[in-house]
Symmetry: C2
DNA sequence: CAATTTTTTGACCGATTGGACAAACGTTAG
DNA sequence: CTAACGTTTGTCCAATCGGTCAAAAAATTG
């Protein structure tokens, strides 16, 4: 209670909130926001609906908490791109990190994709500020490499978009990827195959001419 | 009525069904299946809910009709990939066609993305048969080009995935692309920029070594 | 014109939804 | 023990959902 400003949470509150968020991630990522019900989340979290609503004010607050926390995780790989590294190595590492995230955190990727797909109504401000600033900053770095002739010239923003697209594809469109590859080729090896392909594509496509 | 097998539709029925499908595409693509209501679709189509339900048996049937029709449109660009053409030209044309579809039919792309994101519950059989067969066939062609040394060797399935991902990204994640590019760079020119970038990436990445 | 068929609508229904609430339960400090 | 606190639950509610239905209104046909 208090003035709602003070964050005084008991141990149980912290634990239960985590349990709920974990369950909500599972449910939201597979059914979308409107497709998910509080009952579903409550059941997945192993508690009753009123009990869940004791820890979160409502469905919206759960979703907001999840998205806000997710954005940090999502920006992290790009933040690691360093201007003082070897360009091709830096880009290759970034692709690898993003692909690992698609493999290890597909639910987070799908939650994010769901939100963007529907116009990002709940996070547009964050995208326009935090994400845009980060991308602008890193695009600047990449552009510097290009001007120095260390990699081929290309639009750095669209380069970043293409890396997002190709890597997250394996999380967001997993159902389609599996369907097309079939049971044999669609196993766990698909991420290694994808990694090899993407590395070759980007190394070849970005190697400076000459 | 009749035996339901015979398709005897009056002029009004055909027109109204088209109006409904157009409205449903708009609504479904921005809110997903569960996020959309019949009332929303009816209002977007300019008619009452019972009137809409006079032309379609239910929400599910509208969605199914939409998806079935969409799949044809969606497979078409890949079908045009011809084994007897110049490899790099064929691939470049395919990328261009897909990018044009993302630009001109973003709602269709998002409808499809929504469905796949949630595990493709309604079209998995179609993916496993129609889509898989088509991709396998075209992957075979691409593999032939690679064996002949006409383009660099790479996994043809993942090559196709990457083309899907990078082109559809501009429709599915349009909100994010616009947010990052900002008002100036995010205008209509973004598709031309994307086209130039992707062409360079794939031409460079697939040019045979030597 | 009247008869018939197609189209449209207002009223309604059962099910599900997000959420409220008081009562009950459990735990711990005195 | 009791009082105070945090936690949990059963019950209930208003709103919304997909869908039905009978009857009105148009349109078509004779």
């Amino acid at each position: 209670m208090e003035a709602a400003v003070k964050r005084k949470r008991t141990r149980i509150q912290k634990e239960k909130r985590e349990t709920i968020l974990e369950a909500a991630l599972e449910v939201f990522s597979t059914h979308g926001f409107r497709g998910s019900t509080i009952d579903q989340i409550a059941e997945a979290a192993g508690m009753s609906k009123p009990n869940l609503l004791y820890y979160f004010r409502g469905k919206e607050e759960i979703h907001e908490t999840l998205i806000a926390r997710l954005l940090e995780t999502w920006l992290a790989p790009l933040k690691e791109l360093r201007a003082d590294g070897d360009p091709l190595t830096e880009i290759r590492s970034y692709i690898r990190r993003k692909l690992e995230m698609a493999r290890d955190y597909p639910r987070e990727s799908r939650l994010f994709a769901n939100e963007i797909l529907q116009g990002a109504p709940r996070i547009m401000p964050l995208l326009e500020v935090d994400l845009k600033n980060l991308v602008d900053e890193k695009a600047e770095i990449i552009e510097g490499w290009m001007r120095a002739g260390r990699i081929a010239c290309a639009d750095p923003w669209h380069l970043i978009f293409s890396i997002w697209a190709t890597t997250q594809h394996y999380a967001d469109f997993d159902a389609q990827v599996r369907a097309v590859l079939g049971p044999e080729r669609g196993g766990e090896g698909r991420f290694e195959d994808a990694g090899r392909f993407l590395e070759q594509l980007y190394i070849g496509g970005l190697r400076p001419k000459g």
